[in-house]
Subunit: 276 residues, 2 copies
């Protein structure tokens, strides 16, 4: 069963006046729990701290989050941890309280309902009509306002479709609803630049580093539909799935090529050991 | 004291797994409570219903919301009601549950802490650096994801500054942090078009109608900084403040001109009677 902690205590509710609910005034992290530990915890904490800094709210104490996750996971070796941090409650209105009392929510979801990322087959992927929200101020962060992703994910229910790609309103391909996107063209590894929208995934960062270590040329670019169609390889990343090749995009087949293969060899089955 | 009802019951908490908190997956309305009644209730319900339709979730029952507001307000004649509607709880992940059980939150804030809109002096207004998020899919709606407005409102604490204007990332002036914006140029009433971002305020709609009734030419346009600087009149609207003239914008003085005056005469002091 799922376990939730609110400010360190097992709880099933949060204050109705919380600004996370009222305004999406907060951030979250979704973390793979492997071997009884959070994977890439340091990278998740870096992104969370950067988000808190950009939102002008105090960052949570890492040791508290870790203790919460351990309490929520108990003896379970495998699952998914979710951390939410909000600016807490305050009087009505957008103005942040001068002395915020942030809310800290940690959830643990056992692996039972999850597939194992190393066993994930190459994915069938579609294009979504729903676009990603553009705001340089929030770009890269995993804020609690994700309605654009919800609407994109609501576009299909076919379980054979693993993911949908989203464009920004200008038509650039930015990400999957729950993943970052990589494409290989002419042997170069390309991924959308995320200075105006999108979430800078922890696994995206791990993959970019690993590619550089392998001597693969990596670039953050504006990706067009044409780049996707002409890509030699396509794959998706997130903290839970690791590197997942795309087998079909809108019916078009893609091979699991040498770049994806090399990254999977380094990160795939052994992703547990690749701590940042 | 503030009173909160969750699904019709007095409560101080919501389920920790609610998608409104997790993803901003919901909508809200802020409603002026005047003479023991919600003002412009029909218009608020229209916007809420349109939002639910666009979000693909069931719309709440108006009679229930009205009963909730009455229960929360009790015998109080004046205050602010807030309605939040979320897609409710569900399993982890963006995909909406096929049979959502929406959450309905109604809050009543007594008028004690509020100023009376007819007594509001003309406002001093600044420009914010924080930009409005762009997404045609969500444009016009009052979704629970309002972090852009929070960050804009966090830019000043001087109580002499009543409001800050926000631009979209392309540089068009779109709105105030908690209000819609109108400018008069060459006798025409201009307001930002909101097909890509911003919230279509109930009072904005009331003002546009009233202007048409008065034979004033109204247009939804892209507003530039130059339009603001050269405007003969500027005013702000929202459900609580009605029509509030801008006296200074970034130190530049503005007169309360004939268009603002005419609209205030029709709507201002008598705004209670102008039910839609």
């Amino acid at each position: 069963v799922d376990t939730w902690l609110v400010n360190g205590q097992v709880a099933d509710a949060v204050p109705v006046s919380d600004r996370g609910l009222a305004y999406g005034d907060g951030l979250f992290e979704t973390i793979a729990w492997r071997g009884g530990q959070p994977r890439f915890f340091g990278l998740h904490m870096e992104r969370l701290a950067e988000g808190c800094r950009r939102l002008g709210m105090p960052a949570p104490i890492e040791a508290q989050l870790l203790a919460d996750m351990r309490a929520a996971a108990g003896h379970q070796q495998r699952g998914t941890a979710r951390i939410m941090v909000t600016r807490g409650s305050g009087p009505r209105g957008y103005a942040p309280p001068p002395q915020p009392a942030p809310l800290r929510v940690v959830a643990f979801f056992p692996a039972g309902a999850l597939v194992t990322e190393v066993a994930l087959p190459a994915a069938s992927v579609r294009m979504c009509r729903a676009t990603v929200s553009v705001n340089p101020l929030l770009a890269g962060l995993k804020t609690l306002g994700r309605l654009d992703h919800v609407l994109a994910r609501a576009e299909w229910s076919d379980p054979q479709i693993a993911e949908g790609l989203m464009r920004d309103p200008a038509g650039h391909v930015v990400c999957g609803t729950m993943s970052n996107l990589f494409a290989v063209r002419d042997g170069r590894l390309l991924t959308p630049e995320l200075n105006r929208c999108g979430v800078r995934g922890v696994m995206r960062r791990v993959v970019m580093r690993a590619a550089q270590d392998l001597g693969i040329d990596v670039a953050e670019v504006f990706l067009s539909d044409d780049d996707i169609v002409k890509a030699e390889e396509l794959f998706l990343t997130n903290a839970l799935i690791g590197v997942r090749p795309v087998a079909h995009f809108e019916g078009r087949p893609y091979a699991i090529g040498p770049v994806t293969g090399a990254l999977r060899r380094v990160l795939g089955a052994n992703v547990e050991e690749c701590r940042a």
